[in-house]
């Protein structure tokens, strides 16, 4: 769970910091109509905090098929479910599988998505069609994708036929790579979409200025375009990692239950604890443990990319980079010219 805090911009329209006498309270700290946050706050309370608290309460109960009916009076077991989840269940193994898959898939999809966005940035005949085709993996329902790939990855399926291999994709160690491949196929368009949105934000004037200054395509890409993509891509990475960690449908449809141990991912493990073993307390504890374990590195990442710093950091830094790029372009062009 992440929260984004914004504060009112103190920047003047011309981009310069406002002049403020020393010792006075900043404008953004005065006369704030905090009551306007109330509806949003109540909504967050209702849809995030309350379910989380209920989940935490359930995690402390011995809630199963025998006590389901009177779940509120199920035996209270304190942190026993948490202890069991961490020490006597495959939770840690499944977190490792889920996180490694998520990072791997995201690392692969980011360059693919950026490349796809760049490839459709300039106008050409059929660009609309290409953009639509790019979105097909994203708009197909996950269970349909899973069913297709399950058929193709059969021992005598089309994948083995094309590759002239005899690999067992849906079981054993290869199933990890099969799942990663299918996840890449379904999730790269998301990165593509956000990258495309970022590219749209690049002012034409900046391109023109860089061109006038003699910047090569690579310098423009590196020092003009990429800084604009930094924000959207950071967001894409976070959302993609979260989405991939929580991916339930693909492994469920591809491999069924029980899962091969090499793809024993966290959401399916939690699902099995709930709906196969009927251990609702344990599965709630698993979910909370997973949340904590996954939230720590995500928090570190959020701090590192400073997505939560509002108006101050992003545009300034972006602007600084863009300015630096424009300034650097003539020199770089000179160097390139000298090489030529």
């Amino acid at each position: 769970m992440t929260t984004t805090q914004t504060k009112p911009s103190t920047r003047r329209p011309d981009g310069h910091q406002p002049v403020r006498p020393h010792g006075t309270t900043p404008l953004y700290k005065r006369e704030r109509p905090l009551w306007m946050l109330l509806p949003g706050g109540l909504l967050m309370l209702a849809i995030i905090v309350v379910p989380l608290l209920v989940g935490f309460f359930i995690a402390m109960l011995d809630l199963d098929q025998y006590t389901l009916r009177q779940w509120f009076s199920a035996p209270f077991v304190g942190f026993a479910n948490f202890t069991e989840a961490v020490t006597n269940s495959p939770l840690l193994h499944s977190i490792w599988i889920s996180v490694s898959l998520a990072v791997l898939v995201t690392a692969v999809t980011v360059p693919i998505g950026v490349a796809a966005a760049i490839s459709t940035q300039n106008r050409f005949r059929g660009r609309g069609l290409v953009r639509s085709v790019y979105l097909i993996p994203y708009v197909l329902p996950a269970f349909v994708v899973g069913t297709f790939f399950r058929t193709m990855l059969q021992p005598q399926g089309v994948v083995n036929s094309v590759l002239h291999t005899d690999v067992l994709w849906l079981n054993g160690s290869a199933s990890y790579w099969a799942l990663a491949g299918v996840m890449v196929w379904t999730s790269w368009p998301f990165v593509y979409l956000l990258s495309l949105a970022g590219l749209q934000a690049v002012d034409l004037e900046v391109h023109e200025a860089a061109s006038l200054d003699g910047a090569t395509w690579w310098i423009k890409l590196r020092d003009v375009v990429f800084p604009y993509l930094r924000g959207p891509l950071s967001l894409a990475v976070i959302i993609a990692i979260l989405h991939n960690i929580n991916n339930f449908t693909l492994p469920f449809v591809l491999f069924g239950i029980p899962l091969p141990s090499s793809v024993e991912v966290m959401p399916v493990l939690t699902y099995i604890a709930s709906f196969q073993s009927f251990r609702f307390g344990l599965s709630a504890a698993m979910a909370i443990c997973s949340l904590v374990i996954v939230a720590i590195p995500l928090f570190v990442y959020l701090r590192a990319v400073q997505l939560d710093t509002g108006d101050d950091a992003g545009p300034n830094r972006k602007q600084r980079r863009a300015d630096r790029a424009v300034l650097a372009a003539p020199a770089a062009a000179d160097v390139e010219g000298a090489r030529a």
Binding site: Y66, L68, W71, P155, N171, G172, P260, S277, F278
Partner: protein
């Protein structure tokens, strides 16, 4: 100002409509005393027939009771469970459920369904209208039953009579070893003795359970799991050897589900197709085996034996089919029993067989069917020789542990050997999981 008022009015009306719609969704027909909510599994094999059957059943119900039926369906066991869970917790939901027999113990454990007493049996037309064998998994004992038998689907073998004749086999195998030998005799070229689905989510545990029962091991003995017993290990060994050692199963079968094994059989590429049932009959029509197949009982003598040992159980199949259960939170129990009474009659049960291939649980209907269809005799015999799985709320986990042994062994099957060490380790894991589940039972598991 007028525009603002207009927009405001539209917003208010929209919100009110949404709220009312929300109420309608939440309440459904739950508050309508004249509509019975019935939940059944979706039928993907015969969807059109299912719809027609539902229409006809609802029309008949309306005629006799004046009430309507609202049908709800689930497409998987998990969906079925989710619906039951939601209903159990909220105290509202379908009035009648048609659930799988192996799920009945779990439903019993929730305590959310009507326990059938004399009054309730009378309300559905009497208990003696049903085949006594079909009560095997209605409850933990005769006095504690919640499941009303509705459909029977005992498991049998389908055999390709042509391939058996070519191999000179005239009698159906009655021991697992004999089945293996016959399968070897019918394996030539691209034809294999048996069509097996190693990657199916259900088939494997049924084989292991059957062979173990034949050896006298019921997998669960009271509150003790027995998955690491020799009989169970021998069952897995036999099951694995078919593909790794005996060569009677296509190697590709390690990635198959039941439908793919069925396809091999209907292509005429397999002599025996164990673990099938009457619902497959329509799948045989118009295929290579049309007119060239017969049903036979699954062996009841355990692997490594020529006769059933003392204590061995003549279990030809798990007790398989559907039970009706009536929710005890509902206020329409009388209507629920009327509905079940309608579908328990001889006529309704025979119609249900004609449409979907499920055998009747009504004793008169079963007798008439057997008399008119001699080819169904092995299946009806299998129904009589069916044995229930352990009646415990922990069964679902135990079943999963049994299948997991196969799932985790598939890479070894692919390599051509599951060693004794590997098998023993996996069985120890399965035993540990199963025993832990049994240890967590409350109310004696019920």
């Amino acid at each position: 100002m007028k525009t603002r008022t207009l927009i405001g009015s539209v917003v208010v009306v929209a919100l009110a409509t949404l709220s009312l719609q929300g109420c309608a969704i939440v309440n459904g027909s739950g508050d309508d005393p004249n509509t019975l909510r019935v939940m059944m599994g979706a039928d993907t094999t015969y969807p059109d027939q299912r719809k027609q059957w539902q229409r006809d059943t609802a029309a008949e119900f309306k005629r006799t009771t004046g009430a309507d039926i609202q049908w709800e369906t689930y497409s998987s066991g998990q969906e079925e469970l989710t619906a039951i869970q939601t209903s159990v917790i909220s105290g509202q939901g379908p009035d009648v459920y048609a659930i799988g027999t192996t799920f009945t113990p779990t439903a019993y454990a929730t305590g959310a369904f009507v326990r059938m007493g004399e009054e309730q049996w009378d309300a559905i037309g009497g208990k003696d209208q049903f085949d006594p064998a079909s009560f095997g998994i209605s409850g933990p004992s005769a006095s504690k039953q919640i499941g009303i038998p509705f459909a029977s689907r005992p498991f049998v073998m389908a055999v390709n009579t042509d391939l058996l004749a070519q191999a000179g086999i005239t009698e159906m195998p009655t021991t697992w070893d004999q089945l293996t030998a016959d399968a070897k005799a019918t394996t030539t070229g691209d034809r294999h003795g048996m069509a097996i689905a190693y990657a199916d989510g259900f088939d494997p545990w049924k084989f292991i359970w059957g062979m173990s029962e034949n050896a006298g091991n019921t997998i669960v003995d009271g509150s003790r799991a027995e998955l690491d017993a020799d009989a169970v290990q021998r069952a897995y060994r036999t099951y694995f050897d078919w593909v790794t050692k005996d060569g009677v199963v296509d190697e590709a079968a390690i990635g198959w589900n039941n439908a793919q094994a069925l396809a091999q059989f209907t292509d005429g590429k397999a002599a025996f197709f164990p673990m099938t049932t009457t619902t497959a009959i329509n799948s045989f029509t118009g295929t290579e085996v049309d007119g060239k197949y017969a049903f036979a009982l699954l062996p009841t003598v355990p692997p490594g034996a020529t006769s059933r040992p003392a204590g061995g159980i003549e279990a030809a199949s798990i007790l398989s089919g559907d039970n009706f259960v009536v929710a005890d939170y509902g206020t329409k129990q009388d209507l629920s029993f009327e509905f079940i009474k309608q579908l328990s009659t001889k006529k309704a049960q025979l119609e249900y067989y004609d449409l979907f291939g499920n055998l009747p649980t009504n004793v008169d209907a079963a007798a008439q069917l057997a008399a008119e269809n001699p080819q169904l005799k092995p299946i009806i015999d299998a129904g009589r020789l069916s044995k229930p799985t352990a009646f415990t709320g922990a069964w679902s986990d135990i079943q999963l542990a049994l299948v997991d042994v196969v799932v985790q062994s598939i890479p070894s099957l692919k390599r051509g050997e599951v060693t004794d060490d590997q098998l023993r380790r996996r069985l120890q894991d399965a035993q540990r999981d199963a025993q832990a589940t049994l240890d967590r039972q409350k109310n004696g598991g019920l």
